[in-house]
Amino acid sequence: MTEEQAWRSPERSGMQVVCYGGDQRFWAIEYTGGNAAGWTFGSPSFELEGRMVSGALATLAETAPRRTLTCGVTEYRVGGPLRDAPGTELHWIVRVADGGNPVVRFRYELASRDGARLTKRTGSDRLRYLSASLDGCDLTVERRLSEFVEPVHSYCPTERQADELHFRRGETLMGPLLTAGGGNRQLLLAYEHGSQYPDAFIQYRLRPDRTVELEAVKGNYLDGSAPTPERPYRTVWMQAAAIEGDEDALASHYRRFALRHWSENAESRRPYIFYNTWNYQERVRNEQGGKYLDPMRLKRTLLDIDAAHELGVEVYVLDTGWYGRTGDWRADPQRFPDDLREVRTRLDGYGMKLGLWFNPTVAALGSEMLAAHRDCVMSEEGREAEPAEVWETEASVPLCLASRYADAFAGELIRLARDYGVRYFKWDAIAQYGCDAPGHDHGDAGHTRLERRESYAFQQVQAMARIVDRLCAACPQAIVDFDVTEGGRAMGLAFLGSGKYFLVNNGPYYFNYDVPIDRERDNWNLFFHPGPARGWICRRPLAYDRWLPSTLFLAHYLPDAPRDNQLISLASLMLGHNGLWGDLPALSRADREFIRETLDRYKQVRDDIADSDPVREGGDRRGGGSAREAVRDERTRSRRAFLRNARNL
């Protein structure tokens, strides 16, 4: 196709995206005015009816009206028939920030009018999402988000530099972010999916000619599926940026994109102060010989809400146990006989929001949800999971999120937002694998068990994001939080397009440090007590903050005396994790006032802090202190530094 036939977006701060529709040059980021940072991307390619077909287009046109999104972004849709398979169409959907943020979000849709099917002739996925040249870049870095780091028992960001040998050997990198820099130019690629490192569903492949390709590994599509105009094959979202500047500038732009221009679910980005009942429930179980659900009573909850309000908490979250049975998600009539009415009235009076705990993948044996969705029960190797109690409540069985049940669950949440005024939804216990049943939407009897299993694991986080987006469309004030405090979760970028993460519970357990305990009777949690140690653990994943704002990663700190512990907790919270938990009514009046006054001051500047690029200093010097700065300025927008004593670690 010629230059004249290319499609060009409007120019934004000197940048535009251009679709050429060719093999080597399918689309590009281009700048005007002497900015040398442009970047070109090769076409996707798909296995159709047993042969690899390029996504290069015969002709191209803008194929849908432009869409303005609430996150300051315009969506364009450009496409046409494939050059090498004219019965099949490819559409490139691209989102560009109106205000000049350079991070571009895009995906593809494939649809056949002649019944052509996606196939796996070799037995595995053959789908290339893009190719791009890294020529001229002397530093290529894989940035992982989903390595589960056992010393802190949390996902933490890790990175690996790719050198000449990696390119020469054609190595693969999981990412999901890949950055490359050289001269005064910085490049970024990312894909929106999730799984624990190294269990890749999508990966980058380096080539000796210094190109990089993004390719499917497993589960990305079903063998023999025929995408149609009514039900096209939709790829994952991807992200790309090319800028003039250094790596700090690239990280700053990306962080800003994550905060302001990625998701329309803006509430998930706000630095509210969150409180959750779980720590107190654990104290009752571990220190008072009671049960986890003992505190789940109206009287205690009202007392707790009063104390939370005095501290300045804005989102009050009832963790597990508020419901009668899973699946139907209604308040337990014994624990909350007035159906949470007084809880709501009290919270409304204080201007606080109600949050509730959910396990989206279970329904109790006696629930209406299960009765209406027997066909959606998860199974593996032909066997349904044994029913199991969920936190001292009725036995439940797992339901599959890649089945029609997902819509019913979204309906439940919308009902709760409407009827109970719920504004925060904590989703817990979602293991990525667990279903290989035929008859759901992840493969049928014609597929192998392995393909159905991988398809479920691949689709799960997309199904979760769709539920969140449906909820937020019905209730824009909703925030959904995906608990990734344990391993085996779909951790990555996909969920962050819709919600946020609940990152650290209590960090490591005793047995993670090889300390023998009686798991039936003893408290598992090593970092459960007031004092500096909990902060060493919880602050470690703040390293995400360079690329992804810490407001997207909730963790809770303890408000208990002495004052040193309170200072550590408040300073840590303000760096973006924003959670408090513990026995709030037990705090002295003086302690409540101190916390309230300190948080009131934090609230004056918290939006600036959320907008700030982090700066950290210290942490390795023997016996030295450490400091963190966070001041918003124009050049890097703001900063944060922290000094941490080497002895703390």
């Binding site: 303000m574 700030s612 963190r628 300025d633 900063r639 000094l643």
Partner: protein, 64 residues
């Protein structure tokens, strides 16, 4: 440019710690006990924090 934000300091060892901000923070400044903030001619803030135990210090710029 708002200059508003936070410096948080953590340490387990008693002593005096200093930190010079990279940016040019806004005033007024609020801080926890044991902290002194002075201003360089360039507009950067210099923080000195006294630790007598394992603790943290908070400095909020643009807050009162």
């Amino acid at each position: 440019m708002s200059g508003r934000g936070l410096v948080a300091l953590f340490s387990a060892t008693p002593g005096t710690y200093s930190y010079a901000t990279k940016g040019k923070p806004a005033r007024p400044v609020w801080h926890t006990e044991g902290v002194r903030v002075s201003w360089d001619a360039s507009g950067r803030a210099v923080i000195e924090a006294e630790f007598s135990s394992s603790s943290a210090a908070i400095v909020l710029f643009g807050a009162q």
